[in-house]
Symmetry: C2
DNA sequence: TACCGAATGTTATAATATAACATTCGATTT
DNA sequence: AAATCGAATGTTATATTATAACATTCGGTA
């Protein structure tokens, strides 16, 4: 086994949350799905996915590029964007449109369209399936006689954890 | 009165829709709101708003730059981005996150956060207030204990008009 | 007149993303 | 084995989107 890609990651998420498990589940699911679908989760694609899963924060493409260079010396923008395209096509990551950034998807294989709660303080992104919202949305779209290709539902603000930390620290 | 900024615009929207009225209402509302709020809808800002309202399509910043140059010879990227920043702050336009583009807001002054239906065929953007969706969304966000700063709800697909046109033409 | 703040002018560059063509490599065919 | 093919990657160049930083203008007012 090689040095894991997350060897020197940011551990801010470690409290109250087994991130090793998040990562191993996400990677395991990704590997299985790719086999089932007959598509290749190549080393580069796997490394990019692993780097994205280093945290629950949205990550920028060029940040991934910097971080993959020690592993893939030849890496160029196209290296990253191609891997990202693949991972998005396979529903393994979300593109966060409002940040031009990317985050792992924990619902791969199930329905992929989720509500994203994006913390402006810690940059972590929480996925929620939000069935009531999706139901109301389907109704609305049907009323508009609109044929859906894709949905992006992105809420920016302050997550519960940060709200607590901030109020605890400053007031 | 000077030559209107939309003098040579794309008339594809003209069928069944009085666009002159859209524009005059939007600009009138913008002017009033800016007076009430004590902010300046300067000539540049007004021109950018007018250019955006040239159609219901999402427009790119550099496209606006090209289109404003005949009117503002000195225009540079900052000219446009500053005007866009102002118009967004004032709720007079929407930034379409998933396109890095901008579209006029017809709900200025009322609640500004709307569902955007973005046609991948004609690029027109329809705003819908979608109260049931917003209600469900508020519930969901409350359950997540998340403090909202802003929302982006963007649906891509094919609008009713295009769906009809396409089926009529090819099938 | 001197000063201030808001808006704009101006130059430069950062950050994000794609196009286009070359190469590699494993699988399949010949 | 040689020829071929397609998927993935390498490589170079460039397009697109956005901001930083400092200068200037200009109306209001101390």
């Amino acid at each position: 086994m090689t040095t894991p890609a997350h060897a020197n990651h940011d551990h801010s998420h470690s409290a109250g949350h087994d991130h090793e498990k998040c990562v191993s589940e996400a990677l395991g699911t990704a590997e299985q799905l790719c086999v089932v679908r007959g598509v290749q989760l190549t080393p580069i694609r796997h490394q990019v996915l692993e780097l994205i899963w280093d945290s629950h924060k949205a990550v920028k493409a060029y940040e991934l590029l910097d971080r993959i260079k020690p592993l893939q010396n030849a890496a160029k923008p196209a290296t990253i964007y191609r891997a990202l395209d693949f991972l998005i096509e396979q529903g393994l990551i979300h593109r966060v449109e409002s940040l031009n950034a990317f985050v792992g998807c924990s619902c791969s294989g199930h329905q992929h369209e989720q509500l994203l709660l994006i913390c402006n303080n810690c940059q972590e992104v929480e996925e929620r399936s939000a069935p009531e919202v999706m139901q109301a949305l389907s109704q609305e779209i049907k009323q508009a006689d609109f044929i859906v290709h894709s949905k992006a539902i992105e809420i920016h603000g302050i997550c519960a954890k940060c709200a607590q930390t901030m109020s605890g620290e400053q007031g």
